[in-house]
């Protein structure tokens, strides 16, 4: 049987200038219905001013079994963190 309402991932931009952020998922027949459902399910309390929906099937995820080889090698490379610079006071909060 064909799945008539596939899964979609929902991304919302809270304010201009910020990035769209993943907020959850939903079922919908197509992209138009998915956008409407995203608006109805995820923006009821003024959460944002822009919505993206992406078919969940379009997302390629990293393999949890490869998590160690993917992410642990960065653990001891602290020199990559921008904590070795003196930031002039005039710059303010970074």
């Amino acid at each position: 049987m064909v799945n008539t309402t596939p899964l979609w991932e929902v991304f919302i931009r809270p304010r201009n200038g910020l990035a769209h952020k993943h907020v959850g998922s939903l079922h919908a027949a197509d992209e138009i219905m998915a956008l409407q459902a995203a608006r109805d399910v995820y923006t009821r309390r003024g959460e944002g001013n822009s919505v993206w929906v992406v078919p969940s099937a379009a997302i390629t995820a990293s393999d949890p079994d490869q998590a160690e080889e993917n992410f642990e090698p960065t653990g001891d490379k602290i020199y990559r963190h921008p904590t070795f610079y003196e930031i002039p006071e005039e710059v303010g909060n970074m």
Binding site: T5, L26, H27, A28, A29, I32, M33, Q36, A37, D40, V41, R44
Partner: protein, 248 residues
């Protein structure tokens, strides 16, 4: 007094339809619509609250929005017949919503020129809500009309069942005519062309045709309703009638 009555008609349309859609809450076929329909219901009920409050103030007899919503019987309700039609299935519910929103959207745009400040305020907010209701209900009508054999059959049944209630939308009661002449409310008959255009666009994609209606149903503006409105009001009003003066 005529303006009070005319505002009540408008408020009753919104409260009754809002209550009807709220009946889907907890019963919709999918979670997404279970949230979408209360959203639409709350848009409509919110509009009715402002209109009731304003009507009560204009009448000047101290009636609150709760008094007007909960203490009038069905003969005193002046909503059009379309909004009280039962939910039946998704085809009926979405078509009823499309028919009503396609009427109210140009109504509120025209009401921005009202001589009444409260009406102008409602118009600004409600026209955005109605634009969304047209989109949401319209997309459903398109998908059901141009969907499976069963959904298309149900959609055509809904069109046959509900189209006889459309003409009443454009009638103006004596009270409404006075409010229109006073520049408080838009003239309903003027909105027909816009309504026809909106419905034609959706029906074209939905593979539906609007039937000719030789005998339109009327009577809501005189308080002559279907039995179903009595049941709706009995349920909606039961708490307030059991606890008169209750506040929430």
């Amino acid at each position: 007094m005529a303006i009070y009555q005319a505002l009540l008609e408008l408020a009753d349309d919104h409260l009754v339809l809002g209550h009807r859609i709220s009946e889907w809450c907890g019963h919709a076929p999918m979670l997404e619509e279970d949230l979408a329909m209360p959203n639409m219901a709350l848009d409509l009920i919110g509009t009715s609250r402002t209109l009731y409050e304003h009507a009560g103030e204009l009448e000047g007899k101290g009636q609150s929005e709760d008094d007007l919503a909960y203490l009038r019987g069905e003969r005193d309700y002046r909503n059009c017949l379309l909004v009280e039609r039962p939910n039946e299935d998704f085809a009926h519910t979405m078509l009823r919503q499309l028919y009503f929103a396609a009427f109210m959207y140009p109504y509120w745009i025209a009401a921005e020129k009202s001589s009444d400040e409260v009406v102008r305020g409602v118009a600004g907010k409600a026209q955005k809500e109605m634009a969304y209701h047209i989109r949401h209900a319209g997309e459903w009508v398109i998908r059901l009309g141009d969907g499976t054999d069963e959904s298309a059959t149900r959609m055509r049944e809904a069109v046959d069942a509900l189209s006889i209630y459309v003409d009443e939308l454009f009638d103006s009661s004596p009270a409404a005519q006075e409010a229109e002449a006073a520049g408080v409310l838009p003239k309903r008959a003027d909105l027909r062309a816009e309504w026809d255009k909106t419905i034609a666009q959706v029906f074209d994609e939905a593979l539906l045709t609007l039937p000719a209606v030789p005998f339109a149903q009327r009577g809501g503006r005189e308080g002559l309703h279907d039995e179903g409105l009595g049941h709706l009001l009995a349920e909606m009003q039961s708490v307030y009638r059991a606890h008169p003066g209750a506040r929430w």
